[in-house]
């Protein structure tokens, strides 16, 4: 294996480990030595990959956004109806929240809760563009096909993602009486009914 490939693998393992620790313990209560210890690497070596904790936090949000964006991209490329695509996107989001809760938790509990960490380098939608782009394409396609009602992007986006984020937040607080996957059908239908033409 080439050195560059080894470095890329190491880099991703740092991101995944830090993602879990940040999501579980919070951004401020997680230190670089904590992350290094978990990975059994030296603090100095970790800094070779990420020059600061803030930079690492920014790279993680890009990583999670790209991962989610890639899955939605597959949905966008399919021939499914808008109603079906909504169901698939909700499924992806809630399945991720169940199987890899740190991915969504990071967005809600680190990215949205520690804006000062992201102000310089992750302004606005810069670091979540991988995900936002696919949502925009989904909306554009669905309005073009006449399935969804044309409206301001943020009024539709807020309804869709605010709803999903809220449900995952409730799950994180252990408030939901049922497994989050059991909400997929109803929530998909609610979103479709709210946005349909």
């Amino acid at each position: 294996m080439k050195i560059a490939e080894k470095k890329a693998i190491k880099r991703e393992s740092i991101i995944q480990t830090a993602l879990k620790l940040f999501s579980k313990n919070g951004f401020h209560r997680t230190t670089i030595p904590d992350i290094a210890a978990k990975l059994q690497m030296s603090v100095g070596n970790l800094y070779n990959y990420f020059s600061s904790k803030d930079i690492l936090a920014q790279e993680i949000i890009k990583y999670t956004s790209e991962a989610l964006g890639e899955k939605i991209r597959v949905v966008n490329m399919s021939e499914a109806s808008a109603e079906d695509k909504i169901h698939q996107i909700v499924d992806i989001y809630f399945t991720m929240a169940k199987d890899k809760p740190e991915m969504i938790e990071y967005f809600l509990r680190v990215y949205l809760s520690n804006r000062e960490v992201f102000n310089d380098g992750c302004e606005g939608m810069v670091c979540v563009s991988g995900f936002i782009t696919e949502i925009m394409i989904f909306f554009d396609d669905s309005v073009r096909s006449g399935e969804l009602r044309n409206q301001d992007f943020f009024s539709a986006f807020g309804l869709f993602m605010g709803y999903l984020g809220g449900m995952v937040f409730l799950k994180g607080e252990n408030v939901l009486p049922k497994d989050i996957e059991l909400y997929i059908d109803d929530i998909s239908l609610n979103i479709y009914n709210a946005l349909k033409a």
Partner: protein, 295 residues
């Protein structure tokens, strides 16, 4: 050396291209390279009656106006027949304006039967095969006088004019109208113009500007050597395109805020990714007026 003989024929037209060309600051210097056989408004060697009779010479034929096979007569003769007579004689045919090139405004009257001379929108007409080798397309509503003078002087000097698949000179139509627009910084940073007639802000997002996907050099070769629609705060109407005219020219069609038509050759995913990033930055300079105006 004998000067090439120039004939300007009009079919169904508003005379817009004739008038536009009269604004050329060097009109007579350009025309001095040619012998004018007949022209709608300028003196020529032959009367229009002689032109109709079909016996006058023609090396360069300029066509203005939309084409119809039957029912449009001048001096009792079908204009289509007059045009075909000289199209056969000419060494070069210049379709001046969107009507003569693609059908344009007048095609709206009878979309089935009215078209351009060699193109019907983007489709080739039955005449294309016969005249393609000498055809130069100059769409525009109207054409810029200097687009025509570029072609005429190239021909007068025996130079080859590089053209694209619709026979448009690449030197003039290889660009988009967006290219050279003084509002480009606002486009780059996705900042809307708040109104028409302003120097600040881009008209692509709200006001219907078609500059980013319209081929033409309006912002390279300025109108009256001074300005352009977009520089003056008016949206580009896409008048050089085969699809011209369209409706809702002052409003951008959007799907949940995303422009329905992308800049030329840019994939939607690439464009949207860029929008998500650039819209995230607030740049103070672009939120301010360029200058204070007297009230």
């Amino acid at each position: 050396m004998k000067k090439p003989r120039l004939l300007w024929l009009q079919a169904i037209t508003c005379n817009g291209n004739t008038h536009s060309f009269l604004n050329h600051p060097d009109l007579f210097s350009i025309l001095s390279h040619f012998e004018i056989v007949n022209h709608p408004t300028l003196d020529g060697m032959h009367t229009f009656k002689e032109v109709i009779e079909g016996n006058v010479p023609c090396d360069v034929l300029i066509l203005e106006g939309s084409f119809i096979e039957k029912g449009f007569l001048k001096g009792g003769v079908e204009v289509s027949r007059i045009i075909e007579t000289y199209a056969k004689k000419a060494s070069y045919i210049i379709s001046a304006g969107t009507c003569a090139t693609f059908g344009g405004i007048f095609k709206q009257k009878d979309p089935t039967n009215i078209s351009g001379f060699c193109f019907d929108l983007e489709e080739k007409t039955t005449r294309y095969g016969m005249y393609a080798s000498k055809l130069i397309s100059l769409p525009g509503c109207p054409i810029h006088p200097k687009w025509l003078s570029y072609v005429l002087l190239m021909l007068a000097n025996g130079k080859k004019i590089p053209i694209d698949s619709l026979h448009r000179p690449v030197e003039l139509y290889g660009y988009t109208v967006h290219n050279g627009c003084t509002k480009n910084e606002y486009f780059e940073w996705k900042i809307d113009s708040e109104n028409y007639g302003l120097k600040e802000g881009c008209l692509f997002y709200e006001q219907g500007c078609q500059g980013p996907y319209t081929r033409g050099s309006c912002n390279k070769i300025l109108w009256n050597d001074i300005s352009s629609k977009t520089r003056a705060g008016t949206p580009c109407f896409g008048c050089t395109e085969p699809t011209f005219p369209q409706t809702s020219l002052f409003q951008t069609k959007t799907n949940m805020g995303i422009p329905a038509k992308m800049p030329l050759g840019i994939s939607r995913r690439a464009y949207i990714s860029l929008v998500a990033v650039t819209k995230s930055f607030k740049i103070k300079r672009f939120s301010e007026r360029l200058m204070e105006y007297d009230k």
